[in-house]
Symmetry: C2
Subunit: 363 residues, 2 copies
């Protein structure tokens, strides 16, 4: 049997640097744990635009469809701000999500013990925090038609369409319930059913899917209250399921509760392929951070933890994922710190590449 395949798309800014560290980890698993992967690499975002004039070439899209998992770094940078909407770096990312039909975006917000002081929130509010946000990723206002800027009378109007079918809601709800079953069996669904009909349908479908998961305690919350509750008492949540736009905002809000964006991975999952593995893309939550790109300052942990999620969700190697996560915790407990993790209590300052080496050593 051939090795499982991974397509690496480092992207822009710090993407290539952090991805170089992921490669070290992948190599380690191949050498030491008999887990070899066929790894290929290609361009996305501004890097792809520079070469092809589009933020994702068709051949790259085709490759992404064929591999077992895509690892993406980050896209975007000030250089590309002037580009037309249709070729901006983000469109490459959105095309991957849409054409691979990666409808379930898993965004853990986890507070690492060694870093609890980093949060702007009080320690007791966030210590031990471990929530999972499941964001719908292929529909809603991100992709709904009609959209655009149109003339109307003697002015223009900007239009986007929020749009959810029952089956779109059902499949992401099911993914969230499945996750809740493997965690603390609590699921909170967030929408604005008090204002939006799409929210009414969302609530109805999530409730119906919930009948198949009687063990899961399901609750519903308006998204504005959800933002409040995330700030007030985030540990009340286990799994949260919400739509594409609310998920964008609420997951970023949740991410910031931990105080260390450089630590947060994500997985975007679609339907099972022929080999049983889900279509999948893994990426850090942080962006391309152009201000520190190329200086060896970036924290590669979010990207490495994204590979841990790949081990767990694409390759059914939960134990190996845990091994990797534990190695990272150990390195942090030893006080090893990239610049973003350096707090008043000090630590051992390391570069991007040294952090990767330390994690390999801890493995």
């Amino acid at each position: 049997m051939s090795n499982p395949s991974i397509l690496i798309l480092p992207g822009d800014g710090i993407g290539p640097e952090v991805m170089a560290e992921v490669r070290k980890i992948i190599d380690w698993f191949g050498a030491k744990r008999d887990l070899a992967f066929d790894v290929s690499e290609d361009l996305v975002g501004g890097a792809a635009y520079d070469k092809h004039g589009v933020p994702l070439a068709d051949e790259t899209m085709a490759k992404a469809q064929e591999v077992d998992a895509v690892l993406l770094g980050a896209v975007g940078g000030p250089k590309y701000d002037v580009l037309d909407f249709s070729v901006k770096p983000e469109r490459g990312l959105l095309r991957l999500r849409k054409e691979m039909d990666l409808f379930a975006n898993l965004r853990p917000a986890q507070c690492f013990d060694a870093l609890a002081d980093f949060s702007s929130l009080k320690k007791d509010v966030v210590a031990g925090l471990d929530i999972m946000i499941v964001r719908e990723l292929t529909s809603g206002v991100y992709f709904g038609e009609p959209r655009g800027i149109f003339n109307e009378g003697n002015e223009r109007v900007g239009i986007n369409t929020q749009r959810y079918t029952e089956s779109e809601i059902e499949r992401v709800a099911r993914a969230a319930f499945e996750l809740a079953m493997r965690r603390n069996k609590k699921l909170c669904s967030m929408e604005k059913a008090n204002v939006m009909e799409s929210g009414i349908l969302w609530r109805e479908v999530v409730t119906r899917v919930g009948q198949d998961y009687p063990e899961v305690e399901l609750s519903h919350m308006y998204a504005d209250n959800g933002a409040m509750q995330l700030v007030r008492a985030p540990k009340q949540f286990d799994v949260i399921v919400t739509d594409n736009l609310f998920g964008d905002i609420l997951s970023d809000c949740a991410a910031m509760l931990t105080g260390s964006l450089g630590m947060l991975p994500s997985a975007s999952l679609g339907a099972p392929m022929e080999n049983g593995r889900p279509k999948a893309m893994y990426e850090p939550v942080h962006g391309s951070a152009p201000d520190i790109a190329g200086q060896g300052k970036a924290n590669p942990i979010a990207c490495i933890l994204s590979f841990a999620m790949a081990l767990r969700y694409s390759f059914d190697q939960g134990d190996e994922a845990t091994r990797l996560e534990t190695a990272i915790e150990k390195v942090l407990a030893d006080g090893v710190r990239t610049a973003d993790l350096m707090g008043p209590e000090g630590g051992v300052p390391v570069s991007t590449s040294e952090m990767g080496d330390k994690i390999v050593a801890a493995l």
Copy 2:
């Protein structure tokens, strides 16, 4: 000349209780400061539904259009959860906003010194916080057409439409710039121009309006990053302007940073009327809190501070507004606390009505 007129709509839950305390304050200004108002009262929300079968009667709507300012308590309660979307308590509120054309919703998020410990955020992150969110309130996905739940093939689809015209963006942007001019001359506009065309138009129009306010330092931020930055370092902001839906979520997020929802007022302003005063409605940010309604536990301060905003924005009585705000700060500094404000350090426990009396005494 006749007295300025106020229509009080106490609404549901704790609305009537907190509004009773506002009445004491209004009476005090009439008796002691020669500021008499013609006050009338009517029903909104569930209370209106119980009597009229609709959450806002046409006669009430007509009255609201005629007065100088509306003071609203809160709407909603579990009893009304089963009602059809079209007659839910919230529809009364949304009708007032829409028909009075209250396009600029001012939501201050202010951290009171005496209450800084209440926040889930670290004290140094929020102490002295004073930001103003200007939320567009009469357009966007709240009111855009088409909307509804439709059949499509053999399933249903929920649709809402985000929709902004240039003039809608322009007028709320102008309101925000005007406010920024009277504050610290910093305005941050939030949208998702990287994903939504309506956000592209938003950014373009706000930038254009900014040319009329060269003294104001204008910045733009994606709304997801906005949520992060509010949690990470809220004091970086002075005035924030954003659309109806982002404003709903971001202002609630900002509100919770202060830790004391029972303290936060809001103003919703429209175009100037013939007498020069803007159409206006004032309401606390908190909801109807049905769980504590009728028990004398509610904190009336948010509602009283909403009246202070009325003094400032409708009646051009900025000094009297400050007088009222100062009286409230004094009462808090004296340790007077409704149940929601009672922290580990203790204080003088008071009921809703005692809090009102203390504030009158401090005036």
